[in-house]
Protein backbone atom coordinates (compact mmCIF):
# COMPACT_ATOMS: atom_id res chain seq x y z
CA UNK A 1 0.00 0.00 0.00
CA UNK A 2 1.25 3.41 -0.87
CA UNK A 3 0.85 5.69 2.12
CA UNK A 4 1.81 8.78 0.17
CA UNK A 5 -1.39 8.35 -1.76
CA UNK A 6 -3.32 9.53 1.27
CA UNK A 7 -1.40 12.77 1.52
CA UNK A 8 -3.52 13.96 -1.38
CA UNK A 9 -6.75 15.67 -0.27
CA UNK A 10 -8.69 13.94 -3.05
CA UNK A 11 -7.92 10.44 -1.77
CA UNK A 12 -8.01 11.40 1.90
CA UNK A 13 -11.48 12.93 1.67
CA UNK A 14 -13.39 9.62 1.40
CA UNK A 15 -11.01 7.90 3.82
CA UNK A 16 -11.62 10.63 6.42
CA UNK A 17 -15.34 10.00 6.04
CA UNK A 18 -14.87 6.30 6.78
CA UNK A 19 -12.58 6.92 9.77
CA UNK A 20 -15.05 9.50 11.08
CA UNK A 21 -17.93 7.06 10.89
CA UNK A 22 -16.07 4.22 12.61
CA UNK A 23 -14.78 6.58 15.32
CA UNK A 24 -18.28 7.87 15.96
CA UNK A 25 -19.54 4.37 16.71
CA UNK A 26 -16.52 3.63 18.89
CA UNK A 27 -17.16 6.88 20.78
CA UNK A 28 -20.80 6.03 21.42
CA UNK A 29 -19.99 2.50 22.60
CA UNK A 30 -17.16 3.63 24.88
CA UNK A 31 -19.23 6.49 26.33
CA UNK A 32 -22.10 4.16 27.20
CA UNK A 33 -19.74 1.79 29.02
CA UNK A 34 -17.59 4.59 30.47
CA UNK A 35 -20.50 6.64 31.83
CA UNK A 36 -22.15 3.56 33.30
CA UNK A 37 -18.92 2.68 35.08
CA UNK A 38 -18.38 6.31 36.16
CA UNK A 39 -21.66 6.43 38.05
CA UNK A 40 -22.65 2.87 38.91
CA UNK A 41 -19.55 0.69 39.05
CA UNK A 42 -16.78 2.91 40.41
CA UNK A 43 -17.04 3.01 44.22
CA UNK A 44 -17.49 6.13 46.33
CA UNK A 45 -14.15 7.66 47.26
CA UNK A 46 -13.31 7.42 50.96
CA UNK A 47 -12.04 11.00 51.08
CA UNK A 48 -13.96 12.92 48.40
CA UNK A 49 -17.25 11.03 48.43
CA UNK A 50 -19.14 11.28 45.12
CA UNK A 51 -17.40 14.53 44.20
CA UNK A 52 -14.36 12.72 42.86
CA UNK A 53 -16.38 11.35 39.91
CA UNK A 54 -15.45 14.53 38.06
CA UNK A 55 -12.07 12.84 37.54
CA UNK A 56 -13.61 10.62 34.85
CA UNK A 57 -13.96 13.59 32.52
CA UNK A 58 -11.39 15.97 33.97
CA UNK A 59 -8.33 13.79 33.45
CA UNK A 60 -9.27 12.47 29.97
CA UNK A 61 -10.00 16.04 28.81
CA UNK A 62 -6.74 17.32 30.26
CA UNK A 63 -4.77 14.51 28.61
CA UNK A 64 -6.49 15.12 25.29
CA UNK A 65 -5.88 18.87 25.52
CA UNK A 66 -2.13 18.24 25.63
CA UNK A 67 -2.11 15.31 23.21
CA UNK A 68 -4.14 17.11 20.53
CA UNK A 69 -1.77 20.05 20.78
CA UNK A 70 1.23 17.79 20.15
CA UNK A 71 -0.50 16.14 17.18
CA UNK A 72 -1.39 19.58 15.78
CA UNK A 73 2.17 20.80 16.21
CA UNK A 74 3.40 17.64 14.47
CA UNK A 75 1.12 18.15 11.46
CA UNK A 76 1.85 21.87 11.31
CA UNK A 77 5.59 21.11 11.40
CA UNK A 78 5.17 18.57 8.60
CA UNK A 79 3.29 21.16 6.58
CA UNK A 80 6.04 23.68 7.18
CA UNK A 81 8.85 21.33 6.18
CA UNK A 82 7.30 19.34 3.32
CA UNK A 83 4.80 21.98 2.23
CA UNK A 84 2.01 19.43 2.12
CA UNK A 85 -1.46 20.94 2.02
CA UNK A 86 -3.19 18.16 3.88
CA UNK A 87 -0.99 18.28 7.00
CA UNK A 88 -1.81 21.94 7.56
CA UNK A 89 -5.48 21.18 7.09
CA UNK A 90 -5.20 18.47 9.75
CA UNK A 91 -3.69 20.96 12.19
CA UNK A 92 -6.51 23.38 11.46
CA UNK A 93 -9.16 20.69 11.88
CA UNK A 94 -7.87 19.69 15.31
CA UNK A 95 -7.69 23.20 16.79
CA UNK A 96 -11.33 23.75 17.86
CA UNK A 97 -11.51 20.25 19.38
CA UNK A 98 -8.28 20.88 21.28
CA UNK A 99 -9.61 24.20 22.52
CA UNK A 100 -12.81 22.52 23.69
CA UNK A 101 -10.88 19.77 25.50
CA UNK A 102 -8.79 22.43 27.23
CA UNK A 103 -11.92 24.34 28.19
CA UNK A 104 -13.48 21.15 29.59
CA UNK A 105 -10.32 20.46 31.61
CA UNK A 106 -10.38 23.99 33.05
CA UNK A 107 -14.13 24.02 33.65
CA UNK A 108 -14.32 20.63 35.36
CA UNK A 109 -11.17 21.58 37.27
CA UNK A 110 -12.96 24.64 38.64
CA UNK A 111 -16.01 22.56 39.55
CA UNK A 112 -13.75 20.11 41.32
CA UNK A 113 -11.56 22.72 42.96
CA UNK A 114 -14.45 24.60 44.51
CA UNK A 115 -15.69 21.81 46.81
CA UNK A 116 -12.24 20.30 47.48
CA UNK A 117 -9.97 23.36 47.75
CA UNK A 118 -12.61 25.99 48.43
CA UNK A 119 -11.76 28.02 45.32
CA UNK A 120 -12.95 27.94 41.71
CA UNK A 121 -9.60 29.17 40.54
CA UNK A 122 -6.10 29.69 41.92
CA UNK A 123 -3.09 31.08 40.05
CA UNK A 124 -1.15 27.91 40.47
CA UNK A 125 1.41 26.55 38.00
CA UNK A 126 -0.73 23.69 36.68
CA UNK A 127 -3.85 25.79 36.22
CA UNK A 128 -2.02 28.78 34.76
CA UNK A 129 -0.08 26.72 32.21
CA UNK A 130 -3.30 24.96 31.16
CA UNK A 131 -4.93 28.39 30.73
CA UNK A 132 -1.99 29.41 28.53
CA UNK A 133 -2.63 26.28 26.46
CA UNK A 134 -6.22 27.48 25.97
CA UNK A 135 -4.93 30.86 24.78
CA UNK A 136 -2.51 29.10 22.40
CA UNK A 137 -5.43 27.27 20.78
CA UNK A 138 -7.50 30.46 20.57
CA UNK A 139 -4.49 32.36 19.26
CA UNK A 140 -3.88 29.75 16.56
CA UNK A 141 -7.51 29.81 15.45
CA UNK A 142 -7.57 33.63 15.40
CA UNK A 143 -4.28 33.83 13.52
CA UNK A 144 -5.41 31.34 10.88
CA UNK A 145 -8.65 33.21 10.48
CA UNK A 146 -7.02 36.61 10.15
CA UNK A 147 -4.75 35.78 7.19
CA UNK A 148 -6.52 35.51 3.85
CA UNK A 149 -3.85 33.60 1.96
CA UNK A 150 -4.27 30.08 3.30
CA UNK A 151 -0.68 29.00 2.64
CA UNK A 152 0.66 31.98 4.57
CA UNK A 153 -1.87 31.35 7.33
CA UNK A 154 -0.63 27.76 7.57
CA UNK A 155 2.97 28.87 7.94
CA UNK A 156 2.21 31.53 10.55
CA UNK A 157 0.04 29.08 12.49
CA UNK A 158 2.74 26.41 12.36
CA UNK A 159 5.32 28.78 13.84
CA UNK A 160 2.95 29.72 16.67
CA UNK A 161 2.19 26.04 17.38
CA UNK A 162 5.83 24.98 17.35
CA UNK A 163 6.88 27.79 19.70
CA UNK A 164 3.99 26.92 22.01
CA UNK A 165 5.08 23.28 22.30
CA UNK A 166 7.37 24.39 25.12
CA UNK A 167 4.24 24.83 27.25
CA UNK A 168 3.33 21.12 27.14
CA UNK A 169 6.17 19.78 29.33
CA UNK A 170 5.57 22.78 31.60
CA UNK A 171 1.95 21.67 32.12
CA UNK A 172 2.93 18.04 32.54
CA UNK A 173 5.71 18.57 35.06
CA UNK A 174 4.26 21.66 36.77
CA UNK A 175 3.03 19.60 39.71
CA UNK A 176 6.58 18.38 40.27
CA UNK A 177 8.49 21.58 39.56
CA UNK A 178 6.41 23.95 41.66
CA UNK A 179 4.66 23.77 44.95
CA UNK A 180 1.08 23.54 43.90
CA UNK A 181 -2.39 22.96 45.18
CA UNK A 182 -3.06 20.59 42.29
CA UNK A 183 -2.50 16.97 43.21
CA UNK A 184 0.33 15.07 41.57
CA UNK A 185 -0.16 12.59 38.75
CA UNK A 186 -2.40 9.68 39.73
CA UNK A 187 -1.12 7.70 36.79
CA UNK A 188 2.51 7.80 35.79
CA UNK A 189 4.46 5.96 33.13
CA UNK A 190 7.31 5.19 35.50
CA UNK A 191 5.48 4.65 38.77
CA UNK A 192 2.26 3.05 37.66
CA UNK A 193 -1.04 4.05 39.19
CA UNK A 194 -1.98 5.05 42.72
CA UNK A 195 -5.71 4.64 42.05
CA UNK A 196 -8.04 1.74 42.62
CA UNK A 197 -8.23 -0.70 39.71
CA UNK A 198 -11.88 0.01 38.84
CA UNK A 199 -11.39 3.77 39.01
CA UNK A 200 -8.37 3.49 36.75
CA UNK A 201 -10.21 1.28 34.24
CA UNK A 202 -13.12 3.71 34.15
CA UNK A 203 -10.79 6.64 33.58
CA UNK A 204 -9.01 4.80 30.77
CA UNK A 205 -12.27 3.88 29.04
CA UNK A 206 -13.38 7.52 29.24
CA UNK A 207 -9.99 8.55 27.86
CA UNK A 208 -10.42 6.26 24.86
CA UNK A 209 -13.94 7.62 24.41
CA UNK A 210 -12.61 11.20 24.33
CA UNK A 211 -9.88 10.04 21.99
CA UNK A 212 -12.32 8.47 19.55
CA UNK A 213 -14.54 11.56 19.81
CA UNK A 214 -11.64 13.85 18.92
CA UNK A 215 -10.71 11.69 15.92
CA UNK A 216 -14.31 11.63 14.71
CA UNK A 217 -14.89 15.40 14.95
CA UNK A 218 -11.48 16.21 13.49
CA UNK A 219 -12.10 13.88 10.54
CA UNK A 220 -15.48 15.43 9.78
CA UNK A 221 -14.01 18.90 10.14
CA UNK A 222 -11.03 18.17 7.90
CA UNK A 223 -13.48 17.08 5.20
CA UNK A 224 -15.16 20.48 5.40
CA UNK A 225 -11.81 22.26 5.27
CA UNK A 226 -10.77 20.15 2.26
CA UNK A 227 -13.96 21.16 0.44
CA UNK A 228 -13.38 24.83 1.27
CA UNK A 229 -9.80 24.87 0.12
CA UNK A 230 -10.11 22.61 -2.92
CA UNK A 231 -13.35 24.06 -4.23
CA UNK A 232 -11.79 25.01 -7.58
CA UNK A 233 -10.51 21.52 -8.32
CA UNK A 234 -12.10 19.09 -10.71
CA UNK A 235 -12.45 16.26 -8.19
CA UNK A 236 -14.52 18.41 -5.84
CA UNK A 237 -16.84 19.46 -8.65
CA UNK A 238 -17.37 15.77 -9.45
CA UNK A 239 -18.31 14.72 -5.91
CA UNK A 240 -21.85 13.36 -5.66
CA UNK A 241 -22.72 15.68 -2.74
CA UNK A 242 -21.67 18.71 -4.80
CA UNK A 243 -23.32 17.75 -8.10
CA UNK A 244 -26.68 16.70 -6.72
Amino acid sequence: MNLYKFSSPATFYPLAGKIGKISTWITVALLVVGLYMSFFVAPTDYKQGEGYRIIFIHVPAAWMSMFIYLVMAFWAGMGLVFNTRLSSMMAQALAPTGAIMTFIALWTGAFWGKPMWGAWWVWDARLTSELILFFLYIGFIALQGSIDDSRRADRAGAVLLLVGVVNIPIIYYSVKWWNTLHQGASVSVTEGSSMGAIMLQTMLIMTFAFWAYSIAVAMYRVRVIILEREKDTRWVSELPEIRR
Binding site: G49, G51, R53, I54, A61, Y220, I242
Partner: protein
Protein backbone atom coordinates in the same frame (compact mmCIF):
# COMPACT_ATOMS: atom_id res chain seq x y z
CA UNK B 1 -36.80 3.46 43.40
CA UNK B 2 -37.77 7.13 43.59
CA UNK B 3 -35.61 7.61 46.65
CA UNK B 4 -32.70 5.93 44.95
CA UNK B 5 -33.09 8.24 42.00
CA UNK B 6 -33.06 11.44 44.04
CA UNK B 7 -30.14 10.08 46.01
CA UNK B 8 -28.35 9.44 42.76
CA UNK B 9 -28.93 13.00 41.56
CA UNK B 10 -27.87 14.41 44.92
CA UNK B 11 -24.39 12.91 44.39
CA UNK B 12 -23.72 12.89 48.12
CA UNK B 13 -24.04 16.67 48.29
CA UNK B 14 -21.83 17.30 45.27
CA UNK B 15 -24.70 17.58 42.77
CA UNK B 16 -23.81 21.09 41.55
CA UNK B 17 -20.19 20.17 40.96
CA UNK B 18 -20.66 16.73 39.43
CA UNK B 19 -23.59 17.69 37.18
CA UNK B 20 -22.06 21.08 36.42
CA UNK B 21 -19.02 19.24 35.09
CA UNK B 22 -20.72 16.41 33.24
CA UNK B 23 -23.49 18.67 31.95
CA UNK B 24 -21.27 21.28 30.35
CA UNK B 25 -19.01 18.58 28.91
CA UNK B 26 -22.00 16.78 27.38
CA UNK B 27 -23.35 20.04 25.98
CA UNK B 28 -20.04 20.90 24.29
CA UNK B 29 -19.64 17.40 22.88
CA UNK B 30 -23.12 17.59 21.37
CA UNK B 31 -22.84 21.14 20.04
CA UNK B 32 -19.41 20.73 18.42
CA UNK B 33 -20.41 17.95 15.95
CA UNK B 34 -23.63 19.87 15.15
CA UNK B 35 -21.59 22.97 14.28
CA UNK B 36 -19.34 20.89 12.03
CA UNK B 37 -22.41 19.48 10.29
CA UNK B 38 -23.84 22.95 9.80
CA UNK B 39 -20.54 24.17 8.37
CA UNK B 40 -20.44 21.22 5.99
CA UNK B 41 -23.94 21.95 4.72
CA UNK B 42 -23.07 25.61 4.17
CA UNK B 43 -19.86 24.77 2.30
CA UNK B 44 -21.55 22.21 0.07
CA UNK B 45 -24.26 24.72 -0.80
CA UNK B 46 -21.73 27.45 -1.56
CA UNK B 47 -19.45 25.25 -3.65
CA UNK B 48 -22.24 23.71 -5.70
CA UNK B 49 -23.71 27.15 -6.41
CA UNK B 50 -20.28 28.36 -7.51
CA UNK B 51 -19.88 25.42 -9.87
CA UNK B 52 -23.36 25.87 -11.30
CA UNK B 53 -22.62 29.57 -11.98
CA UNK B 54 -19.40 28.65 -13.74
CA UNK B 55 -21.04 26.09 -16.01
CA UNK B 56 -23.81 28.57 -16.86
CA UNK B 57 -21.25 31.16 -17.87
CA UNK B 58 -19.58 28.70 -20.17
CA UNK B 59 -22.75 27.69 -22.01
Amino acid sequence: MKEGLSEFFAMGGYALYVWGSFGVTALLMIVEPLLVRQRRKAVIQRVSRLIRLKSEQKS
